[in-house]
Every structure is written in structure tokens, then in C-alpha cells.
Subunit: 461 residues, 2 copies
Amino acid sequence: MSSEKIKFNDTFLFGKSGVSPSRLESLSERLDICREWLLELHEKMELSFLNLPFEKNALSDLQKLVDTIDFSIKDVVVLGIGGSSLGPKAIYSALKPPYYDLNDKVRRVHFPDNIDPASFKALLDYLDPDRTLFLVITKSGGTAETATQFMIVWDYLNSHFDKKQAIEHLIAVTDPEKGSLRALVNEYGLKNCSIPQNVGGRFSVFSPVGLLPTVLAQLDAGQLLAGAGDMASSFRQGDVNHMALRAAGLFYLLHMEKKCPVHVLMPYSDAFYDTALWFNQLWGESLGKRKNLQGEDIFVGPTPVAARGATDQHSQLQLFVEGPKDKIITFLEVSDPGNDLEIPRVFGDYDSYSYLAGHTMGELLKTELAATSLALNKAERPNCSLILEKVDAYNLGQLFMFYQIATAVSGKLYNINPFNQPGVEQGKQYTYGAFGRPGFETEGKVMNKFKTGFATDSAKK
Amino acid sequence: MSSEKIKFNDTFLFGKSGVSPSRLESLSERLDICREWLLELHEKMELSFLNLPFEKNALSDLQKLVDTIDFSIKDVVVLGIGGSSLGPKAIYSALKPPYYDLNDKVRRVHFPDNIDPASFKALLDYLDPDRTLFLVITKSGGTAETATQFMIVWDYLNSHFDKKQAIEHLIAVTDPEKGSLRALVNEYGLKNCSIPQNVGGRFSVFSPVGLLPTVLAQLDAGQLLAGAGDMASSFRQGDVNHMALRAAGLFYLLHMEKKCPVHVLMPYSDAFYDTALWFNQLWGESLGKRKNLQGEDIFVGPTPVAARGATDQHSQLQLFVEGPKDKIITFLEVSDPGNDLEIPRVFGDYDSYSYLAGHTMGELLKTELAATSLALNKAERPNCSLILEKVDAYNLGQLFMFYQIATAVSGKLYNINPFNQPGVEQGKQYTYGAFGRPGFETEGKVMNKFKTGFATDSAKK
């Protein structure tokens, strides 16, 4: 039977500055509508993120593809940005042992996730082309940053190899039919796999976008999907009390009725910091919208903030405890830290050391989480915990699916479309214009005027 | 003559959703008072961050200390958290070449900056004790997380070496007189250096806290101080139009009068992402305060958010452009990216590739910054740019000093004390109580009750 292994402790979302249980109760009907809506979208196959964990042969197909690589892979480089990089990067950094990349004997996966030429050149200089596999991941096929990375890598490979050999070092991950990358796949006969058409970038972690790098990193993609599948099933089979619905409802009420637009995700675990960055995209890009579904201006959306415990107790916590009462804090707690370290009985004469002796580092970390939660509650700051048994693929799969469901449901509550991102188009068009792409001459003129004015303004200061 | 090399372009902080020039003008008098106040605090030696770049012999003293290390150092580990780690980590990640740590022939500096036992154990397992130097950095001398790291490392060293050898692998950085670490230095004769008493954690990057790791990382600490010194001098010699005062004034007006409590720092450079995390502490912990200077509850403080360009154009930007008009975005622009990469003339038949050919990756990055700035302005979102000539120690020194001055001044504008952090005490006391530290029995009881209740609540779900 499917179930959630991760737990959601929402005690401190209620109370003095929080939601009243009756207010949540009165949201039940809307939450039920959200649930039906999401399931229906999946039935009509307009969406498929809930279905991805159940794709037959998904992993075996990827494994077959990987088995066609005829050289010994030392480094894998993911060319991609945003939704094509944040998911697999979060998986890699959560599930590989800490400091894994310091060992230069192991297979490393790199996520440049940017177009910083200094970084990208340093990465190319480091790589051994004979033993490097590049993944080019872009749903649309023409993302400017990914296209740039790919063009430079194409040149790099063709300067090291003949044409036939060069393409052996590439796998394209893109739309099954549309876009320039699919066309390039066809022209050059590139190895490739497809991102299902009803899966958007930030909901693609269980598609080949997330799974191919995971398989190449020799991590347990099967358990990742098992965790995700169990969460998806419990949502399908459950009711309005499902943790993802309940969380979405509570976060929504805290935002709209208790004026908490800032949403902090604070894992008490180094492994999950990149998961918080993945969440930033999911939550921010899905829910930050100008228009509601009726086309009216509403300028809505919570602001996600990434933090890390215990580190940020010595950085952002002061603001969370004493600043404006505009934040919800979600802790990620790991019940079993795996390797723990005993704090030895040394410095017994020193008050600020001796009380620590005999405890473990993991105990201190968990105690600090509890203490921080309690202190925030005392200061009337709503906070809650997602409790994971341990850092493993199964739990991470559950967490990803939990947040994807909660995000989609939140979109319905906010009455916006959580699956588009119209706000980023204007900037892209200005860039096209500045680079002389046909069809964007107007934007090019605006940019030209702007850059000239900018230079003059800067010079004045 | 001293000057600022970095530029502040604030054009887009004015205009429709921004500040009116006359409103900034009318703040001049207050800004002048802030300036006088800050200089006076330095004159009275209650503060010294402005003076740190001019400390005679600061670097030569540190170099002498480093020269006493009688083994060949392969790894340096900074034991510390928050203000004892964020500054030197930002320096290291900005100034070392990208992907530097992948090379296992070089000297690496590690900043665990947490008490995650899985990470910390992996780090210890990786290290070669014979060639590792540990820095223990804590101003108070008794920070729980640093104490824990230190106790475990003390045990680790004493299990590998005899007593005399063990302490050769340690340098303590702490208060010149007070605190448990200073007492341990005296008891065991540890190598050490001092953090001046009038320097707080988040304003300590130009003290040995930031400089000792920088010297050990073989980076140009002299140029870092030169940049900082020039910024400090231009502030001393300048007037209310100094860029740090002007920025503080504009940010304050945008927050309090234009309802923009969220403050995004978005470097378009991988090198400066950790600088944005350093800024998060500086801005958030300094300005997030419950009480004003009259002791009244005001619950004030902007929320800093770290982002990275171009990456976050595919993550957080949608929210920044279309979500609530509650954000100020500051870009960090690097004029000369150093190594650049030409985008080759390939895939000429594909519209979404061909327009990129012949440009460079660095050009695309800068164009996207300009395009994003323009798009945000069009959407009536105030934004500005700090323009650095290049990624080097001098420019980074200027940037750090700029933000320290702007933060202190902002504290004065908000009428709060920017140099304390009373809000984090409660959580610490709960932890002491749970760990049975004498004097915290009441907090221990509260924690006990809480943890029992917590467990019961969790089990119910």
C-alpha cells in the first residue's frame, strides 16, 4: 500500500499569529475542488507530473541509452539552465556523499547552470574530452543560454574528434517532436531522449531531465521514483487531509489572511540546500503571477527564501525572529543523520564547552532545530517541519512530489496559472533584439538606446 | 587619492514606482547626520570596521604567524559559523579560479559552516591530518557549533599526534582577552590571533577572521584591504553623495515609502554568489530588529534574497517581474569577465541558434543583465547595478566596504541598533536547557515538554 513516509508537523502554523483550525476547516471544500481539478488535468493528459513515477520502462530505457556509450565516462556535464538543471543538481548534491567531488578518482557530474564565461572556460579546461559526456537539456530546444553552451561544446568536441566520434559524447534531452534541438538531433543523428510534452520545466524532475543525470551519477533513480510514486498514490487515493493539500491550504491562508508573503525553506541538513533552490524556482515561478485566470491584474505570489540550519541561525534567523511578521518558515528535519559524531569529553573546566560533551553532533543539530522552532513560535512566527527519515532517494522522491502537488494546488487557490512564466519573455526579447535576431528589431532599438544612456549615466558618477 | 572604482547605477530606482529625486534630496540632512554618527563612533573607537584596512602590520603579523607552521599545508579547515565563516568563504569562492577545488594537487580551504555530522565526518575522513591546519574562529569563544567542531577536532588531532604535535595544527582566532577560547589558548599555548573588541562578527571580514583564511589561501589580501581602504577613505572625505550613503537612502525610501521590503542581490557572475550570502547576513541580521532605539516595538527590517544571473532568469525572475511590487533588485555587473568564450558559427540554419554566432558568452551575459534590468523597469520594479571592473581582490574589497557602510547607515535610518542580534538568544537558551547546561533549567523544562508533545503530534499524523 502506498503511503507517505515523510511527515508534516504543522502545530506551529496554528495559534496566536497562525491559522485557526476552523478557518482551515472552512477551506476544505475549495481544497477538494483543487484535488479534483489536478486529477482531472492528469486524466485529460494535459499534465503528467503525477504520472511520471509510473512510466513503464522509463528507467530501463534510460539505462539502455547509457549502455550505448562506448567510452569510460569520467565526467558528465549537464548543459541546461533553470528547470533543466535545478532538479538533477538537487538530487546529485543530496544523494552523493558530502565532499564527494573532492575525490578526483570518481565520476563527477557538473551543472554549470549559467553562461559565466570564466566558469565555463575553467570547466572545459578541466575536462578530458575523451572521457566526458555532455547532456544538452532544453524542452523548447532553443533556450539562449543552453544553445550558447551547446554551440561552444559542439566546437570543442569537433576540435578534439572527427565528426562521428564527436557526437558519441553528446546526448540531447528535449521535446519529442518540436524545436531546434529536436531538428538538430534528426540532422546529426544525436543520441537523445524525450521530455513528455505535458511536462513543464519545473515539474520535470521525474522525467529524463532529472533521471538521466541521476542514472549517469549511479544514484538510485528507482527509489527516487518509488518515493515519488507513493506520494502521488496517497494523494490520488486520499482526501482533503492529504499533507500536500493541507500544507497548500495553510500556506495560502497564512499568506493571504495573515500577511505572510515570505516563505522560507530551511533544511537542517547540508544535503538539502540545493533542494531549497529547486523549491525556489518551483514556488516562485509557479505562483508569482500578474494576472488571475480571469485576466485581471492581481500581482500575486509568495517570495521563497532559501536558508540552511544551523548555519542561518547565525545569519538570517535574527530577522526571522524579530523582523516583520511576514514569514512562514518550513524546516526540513532529518530523523537519522546517518553518520553521527560523538562530542568528546574534553575542556571539562569550561562552562561553554562542558555541557556539550557526551552528546552527539547530530543531537545538537536536531536540538537546535527544535529550539529554533520553539523560539519562533514564542515570537509568534508561524513555522512547520517536514520530517524525513533519512537522506536517501526514497525520501527525496517523496519530498519533490509533495512540493509539486502543493505548488499546483496553490496555483488553483491563488486563481492563477501555475504552469506558465509569461513574465520572462520581455527580457528574452530585448536580448534577441540586442543580438540582432530577425523579428526583434524594435526591441533592439530600445536596448541600443538604453545601453548608450546607461554608459553615459555611469560615466557621470 | 582614494576613490571608488566600483560604480553605482541607480537610474532605475527613480521613476514611476521608484523614488522621486526631490524626496532623496530632502533626506540629505538625515544622511549627513548618519555620516557624522558613523565617523564619530569610529573616532570614539566604539566601532572599527572603517579602520581595519589601515591597521599597520596586520598582514605582516598574520604572515609571520603562518610562517611558524612547520609542515606543508594541503588543507585548511575553518571551524566557525555565520560571521566567522561567510566572509572568508565569499573571498575564497570569488577569488580562487572557478572549479579550483576539483584539482586535488592544490591547497584547499574548507568552510563546513555547520554542524551536519554527515558532512563533518566526511570532511574528517577526507583530510590528511599530517597536512591539515584547523582555524578555530569565534569572537565570543563559546559559540556552540564552533565549540562542537573544535572538541571533535581536538580529539581527532590528539588521536593522530602527541600533545605537542597536535596543537601545531591549530590556530585560534578570538577575542584578545575574554571568552573560553582565549582561556584555552592560554592553557594550552595555542597559536592565535585576535579579533579587535570593537569589531562584530558580520563586520569582521577585514579583521583576521577574513584575512587569515585569505592569506592561507594564498590570495591577495593586500589588494582586498586596498580596495576596502579606498572605499572607506572616500566615505570619510566625501559628502552625502557618497555612493554608500546614497544607496542606503534610496533603499530606505523604497522600503518604507514605496513598500519594497524584499531586497534581492543578484550577481551576474558565479564568483559572487557567496558574496550574496555574506550580504544576506549583513543586511538581514543588522537591520531585522524588534525594537527601535527608544525601546519601542517596531518589528522592522528588509528581507534579503540571494539570486544569480543569468541562472535565476529561469527561476526567480518570473516572480520579480510579475509578482507583488515589493522588491528592489540590485545587480552586480562585472565589466570585464576575464576569460571569455566566442560563440562559434555553427547551426547556421537554425533561427534559435544562428543569432548567437559571432558574439561571446560574456557579451550574452551582460546583454541579458541589461535586458533584465530594462524589463524590470518596464514592469515598474525598481532595480540598480553595482558595476565592478573585474573579479579581483581590490574590487571585492570595495564591495564589502560599500555594503558595510551602507548597512551601518541604514541602521541609523531605521532608528535601530545594527550591531546586535538579541533575537537569536532565546533559541540558544532552549538548546542550553535541553543539553543540561547549568543555569538554563527553566528552558530545559520547556524544551522537554515541547519535544514530548512534538513526538506525540508527529505520531498522530
